[in-house]
């Protein structure tokens, strides 16, 4: 089969380009040299130990977890409302309102950061983790809506009607029928919002005040050449974590589609 061979070769070269940086992560994380360059000098796990004993890093991780967990819950809740409203009902102005809600997808993050900063300072609110949570929820919500929309869309409307017809109320129908069927979508939405927040730098740096999150901490380490291998170790762990999270999210997304009897049509977004 000669058809598409050129494309296949290109595809693998492209994948190599995509994965090149990530492949380097563990290589330098276990390399026994302060300077990140070839040739490699030897195997070590000391960077991981150094990372583990870093108190400032611990604080940053804790802050990031607080922010990311709050964001995943808030953004998913807002996403559930929006996805349910737009898949179940038709009303005038729907496309416009949804367009506004999805706008952060195409708005540079720095604009969001700047506008929130100006407003928050004018209102006399101090910059804390809470203000980061606000900003992150704003940028994560469009992603949760995209995921939840497909979960709610594959839900046959007559399932709700059937439950209602069999004597359930609207609330109990939501609990007994809709929630279990969209739960996989909700889980993958939680995980995606979590990863987005965990990774976000610019909004956190504008709105964080004195509170450090993980990306802010990593960014500050880049200035110190001797800290770079520690960042590599940290990056390796983060990469493994996000691949695990992403795999779980993808698993639930597919299970959700299979459960609702639909056909799989693609990945995220």
């Amino acid at each position: 089969m000669n058809k598409g061979r050129g494309f296949r070769v290109y595809a693998f070269v492209y994948l190599a380009f995509l994965y090149a940086p990530i492949v380097l992560l563990p290589i330098f994380a276990f390399n026994d040299a302060t300077i990140v360059s070839f040739p490699l000098t030897g195997f070590t796990t000391k960077w991981f130990v150094q990372m583990w004993n870093n108190a400032a890093l611990g604080d940053a991780v804790r802050n990031s977890l607080i922010v990311a967990v709050s964001v995943s819950i808030l953004a998913t809740t807002l996403g559930v409302f929006a996805a349910r409203a737009t898949t179940r009902y038709r009303f005038p102005g729907q496309a416009g309102l949804l367009g506004m809600i999805m706008l952060p997808l195409v708005l540079p993050d720095i604009i969001i950061a700047v506008s929130l900063l100006v407003t928050i300072l004018q209102l006399g609110i101090s910059l804390t983790l809470k203000t980061i949570i606000l900003g992150h929820t704003l940028i994560a919500t469009p992603f949760t809506i995209a995921i939840l929309n497909s979960a709610f869309q594959s839900l046959d409307r007559s399932l709700e009607e059937a439950a209602y017809d069999l004597g359930e109320t609207k609330a109990s129908t939501f609990r007994l029928i809709i929630m279990p069927l969209v739960m996989p979508g909700i889980i993958s939405s939680l995980l995606i919002a979590f990863s987005i927040s965990l990774d976000e730098y610019i909004i956190a740096s504008f709105l964080g005040g004195t509170d450090n999150t993980l990306p802010l901490y990593i960014f500050s380490l880049f200035r110190f050449a001797n800290q770079v291998p520690t960042v590599m170790a940290l990056g390796t762990i983060l990469a493994v974590l996000s691949v695990v999270l992403l795999t779980i999210a993808e698993y639930f997304r597919r299970r959700g589609i299979a459960r609702a009897g639909g056909k799989d049509t693609g990945g995220f977004l």
Partner: protein, 291 residues
């Protein structure tokens, strides 16, 4: 119609359900955006804002060459990065849509999205490692004897920014094109060949026009955020790779001039919006002239 019916009506239920998200979006996004626009017409005083409307900030932006230069550079870098990203993404999207068996498509999309979900900061930093003076490429080429001293044009310039952005935004470019290719009815292509067109001409006359909406979407979805990207130019751009986001950050934090920073933000948004509208308009004209 009584109140109860009104409450139960389709539209009312829809508005009620959408309202938490819509209100959040208005309060946290729309209102602050309006605030920025207002701010851009104020003047920075010492530790406070002078509430007199003025165009002075915009005049400053036009007067001082640094602002125009950086704005232009941002646009050019973003345009080049977008072109690079979309052109390199096209064959991949085409490959997955047309040559990968249906049951393997999800796996391919998954493979493409994984790098995207690992820390953006660290990915950008790793490009610095790859492209740097003592970086992977230079040390490998030196080791192989292809070059005798490290190449310096790789890092700390616009090239590095383009490469890094093309890497960072790859899934954003691939997915919309893939989706539009998936929507193409395969029998149309067979019909094209059945009517005597070659495989290549079928691609040009049938596939490409039908893929245009996806390409347009990926151009916009890559171009808009890359204009305002901060991390990449800061880490790999060097002094000649700085972009408008650095300028905004600088005026807010280093200069403390909020109105000026707001004016830069507003101008950047305005220029990007105008460019996108022109692009959409030209694209529509192009599509219409074909049909």
């Amino acid at each position: 119609m009584n109140l109860r019916k009104l409450f139960r009506s389709e539209a009312a239920s829809g508005y009620l359900l959408l309202s938490p998200t819509a209100i959040f979006s208005i309060v946290v996004m729309a209102a602050p955006l309006i605030a920025v626009v207002l701010f851009s017409f104020m003047t920075a005083g010492y530790l406070k804002i002078i509430w007199t409307p003025t165009l002075a900030n915009y005049v400053t932006l036009l007067d001082q060459p640094i602002y125009v230069t950086l704005m232009m550079r941002s646009l050019i870098v973003a345009a080049v990065a977008t072109a690079a990203t979309v052109f390199s993404a096209l064959p991949i999207a085409y490959f997955i849509s047309f040559f990968v068996p249906p049951e393997r498509k999800s796996l391919w999309l998954f493979l493409i999205t994984i790098p995207f979900w690992t820390s953006y900061l660290i990915r950008v930093f790793l490009w610095k490692v790859i492209l740097g003076y003592n970086g992977v490429i230079n040390s490998a080429f030196l080791g192989l004897g292809i070059i005798h001293e490290p190449m310096t044009f790789l890092l700390y310039n616009a090239n590095a920014v383009v490469i890094t952005l093309a890497h960072a935004y790859a899934p954003f470019a691939i997915l919309p094109i893939f989706v539009s290719l998936e929507k193409i009815d395969r029998s149309l292509l067979e019909a094209g060949q059945d009517l005597g067109e070659s495989r290549f001409m079928t691609f040009i006359r049938v596939t490409l026009p039908l893929a245009v909406p996806g390409v347009v979407a990926s151009v916009l979805i890559v171009f808009i955020p890359t204009v305002g990207d901060y991390v990449t130019p800061t880490l790999v751009g060097g002094n000649n790779g700085q972009m408008v986001a650095n300028l905004i950050e600088n005026s807010y934090f280093k200069l403390g001039n909020y109105p000026l920073g707001s004016a830069i933000s507003v101008s950047a948004m305005g220029i990007v919006t105008v460019i996108c509208l022109i692009f959409l308009f030209l694209n529509r004209r192009f599509l219409r002239s074909r049909s």
